[in-house]
Amino acid sequence: MFPWNYGFEWNSAHIIFLGAFYTVLVVVATTLVSAVVRARRDVRAHHEDEIRWHSDFHDLPAPDRVCRHVLTGEFRRRECPNAFDCRLCETHAKLIARHHPAPAAEQEEEILGMAFPLDRLYHRGHTWVRTEPDHTVTIGLDELGARLTGTPDSIELPLPGASLHVNGPAFRIRKRGADVRVLAPVDGEVIETGSPERGWLLRVKPAAEGEPAFRHLLRGAEIRPWLLREMERLQLALTAEGAAPALADGGVPVADMAENCPQADWDAVCGEMFLNA
């Protein structure tokens, strides 16, 4: 194998064969070392949450990765290329420059008995963001998210001072065996924790202000088509878990779905709805 081994000669067979072998070894080792080095760099730069979301997003079923402009009918088919971070999306910027999402006619959308106030913006992971007069933002679970988890077994909120990153974990909810990471809708620093009774769960000082910082959040006329799509997803997720709902009779989701449908695997349903892989 080496020039000092018995029988080694500097002939073409040795050179070609061992050259190819060593090249392969070098390529494999370099690949492995590169992955380790890059991983170390990511960990030092605290990119774990971002990577977790990208990994989760990649593992979502294709129909769950659709662009928001598919929901509103502007595109027939388009997968979001930015993992739901429209702040990076040139197509989204062009589209809203051309025609900004229409403000809804009402102050509140009522969809299947669920209230979606329009004074706030919505994240696709079922949180809302409301800008307060002191320029902080409050964050809470939207009505569908709240009905899915009902009265949670536990909520694990971050401590004041913790940093939030869009699509990184904001807080954890546990309910009937489900353990879900609720995704952060904004970048910022937690300054206060709330509770369901106070109407919000986190008060956050956003990392940036102005429209571009919140561009990825759904608003106005986008809410209804998104919610209808979410109800379809919920229906399919529950059906797969054996709950078999139909929603064909005009009923509305109950306040605490998990308690009313104990036979379903709520870990799977909540994972699906809160975009956890």
Binding site: M1, V27, H54, D59, Q235, L236
Partner: protein, 423 residues
């Protein structure tokens, strides 16, 4: 009990049922390890091989599983190099099958070669003129590549993902997986070929000896082609089997059909190449060696039926079935044809290994017969049991079929009234 280790949104049987499933395979593995241990400790006198019949059940098993495991390199090549995205649905399963096949083959080879404490001799004192050296280097390198390719699948386990460092490493490794796919293709190309070339260069065995291109006999190319052809077929068979056993839809039918089409096309090319090679061998190579080809088939049970079975029944027929859209669309036909293709390649490896050595080549040579000892069979069964166990654990705890969750949701049909609705 182990629910938190199972991927979210997929259903797996209860832990007790799973233990019942693995118990017989574990027992078989223990028996096989005992058999292999006997061979390693007491030597090859535990087998029915001898100096004349030096290749037996184990080499047949090695050649067959390496051909069947070719789905790993070929699917990796199609997904990561040719960017056929649909096959991402089976790539994880292909990697596990490849890992099982190659590690099993190397384990059996280690028992066959013996002297396990001197395993490193083959790397330190290689005979660069030997096809076997190329095979040894390539399959050990490729097994390393497969093990690295398997890592991201393991690290995607639900519990392991909770460890941020592992998650990040998995992410970064997955981004570079195309490099490993390329290396795997290169290595597989050469070791599949070298395994074929190993027989083609046997001048003293005119039944196996072939002419070819440059330094490579035709069997070099035939082995590559046949392995690439049956790799996807074996993937069809295993996926179908796992679907039946687990009673779940794991991949879309279109993926099955695509694999079938690829397999059928390559099998047709292989059958054509094999037919031409056989005709050249019958009319030129063999007579030039002093034998009429028909003489080889006068030794029973190796009649001409075995040649026809290999080329027509388990080559041409499955190729035609897999290439015909109407048959391909029918799961029964498709899976049967894929199984026939896999059997065909196993038969080819059997012929190359056992028939080659059984036939006399000198006037005073007898026709040799060989039947494996129970220790050989036990070691063989250990590989099968090991494969089933590794695949079963991988299927239970890792996401071998990324579309499983999606298909489960899609296939669920809302039929009853909504129970969650307040009127």
């Amino acid at each position: 009990m182990d629910k938190e280790f199972i991927a979210r949104g997929v259903k797996r049987c209860a832990t007790g049922k799973f233990l019942l499933w693995i118990l017989p395979w574990a027992a078989l593995l223990v028996f096989g390890l005992y058999s292999a241990g006997l061979c390693l400790v007491k030597g090859l006198n535990q087998t029915n091989m001898d100096n004349r019949f030096a290749f037996g059940l184990w080499i047949f098993l090695d050649l067959t599983v390496i051909a069947l495991g070719a789905g790993a390199f070929f699917t990796g090549f199609l997904v990561y190099i040719l960017k056929i995205e649909e096959l991402k649905a089976v790539i994880n399963s292909a990697v596990v099958i490849g890992l099982v096949c190659y590690s099993g083959a190397i384990a059996v080879l280690a028992v066959d070669v013996g002297q396990p404490l001197r395993f490193w001799f083959t790397f330190w004192y290689p005979n660069v003129h030997s096809m076997l050296t190329e095979v040894t280097f390539c399959i050990t390198c490729y097994l390393t590549v497969l093990a690295i390719e398997y890592l991201p699948i393991v690290l995607k386990n639900r519990r392991l993902r909770d460890v941020p460092r592992l998650l990040v490493f998995e992410h970064e490794l997955h981004k570079l997986i195309y490099v490993l796919a390329g290396v795997g293709t290169f290595l597989s190309f050469f070791h599949q070929g070298s395994l074929g070339g190993l027989y083609g260069v046997l001048r003293g065995r005119p039944f196996a000896f072939r002419e070819g291109l440059f330094i490579w006999p035709s069997t070099f190319f035939l082995f590559i082609l046949s392995a690439a052809a049956v790799g996807p077929s074996f993937l069809i068979c295993t996926t179908f089997l796992v679907e039946k056993i687990s009673r779940k839809r794991l991949v879309r039918r279109e993926v099955f059909r695509l694999l079938a089409r690829i397999s059928g096309l390559l099998l047709a090319v292989y059958t054509l190449a094999k037919s031409i090679d056989t005709l050249v061998w019958i009319n030129r190579t063999s007579p030039e060696s002093g034998f009429q080809a028909i003489q080889y088939y006068s030794w029973k049970p190796f009649g001409t039926w075995i040649l026809l079975a290999e080329i027509v029944a388990f080559g041409l027929v499955p190729a035609l079935i897999l290439l015909t859209p109407r048959f391909r669309a029918h799961t029964g036909w498709m899976v049967s044809a894929a199984a026939m293709a896999c059997f065909g390649v196993a038969l080819n490896r059997f012929v190359m290994t056992v028939q080659t050595l059984a036939l006399p080549t000198l006037s005073f040579d007898p026709f040799l017969s060989y039947f494996p000892s129970w220790q050989e069979v036990g070691t063989f069964l250990a590989v099968v049991a090991y494969g089933v166990l590794v695949y079963s654990f991988s299927f239970r705890y890792f996401r071998l079929f990324p579309e499983e969750r999606e298909l489960r949701v899609e296939l669920a049909q809302p039929q009853e009234e909504l129970e969650l609705v307040e009127r």
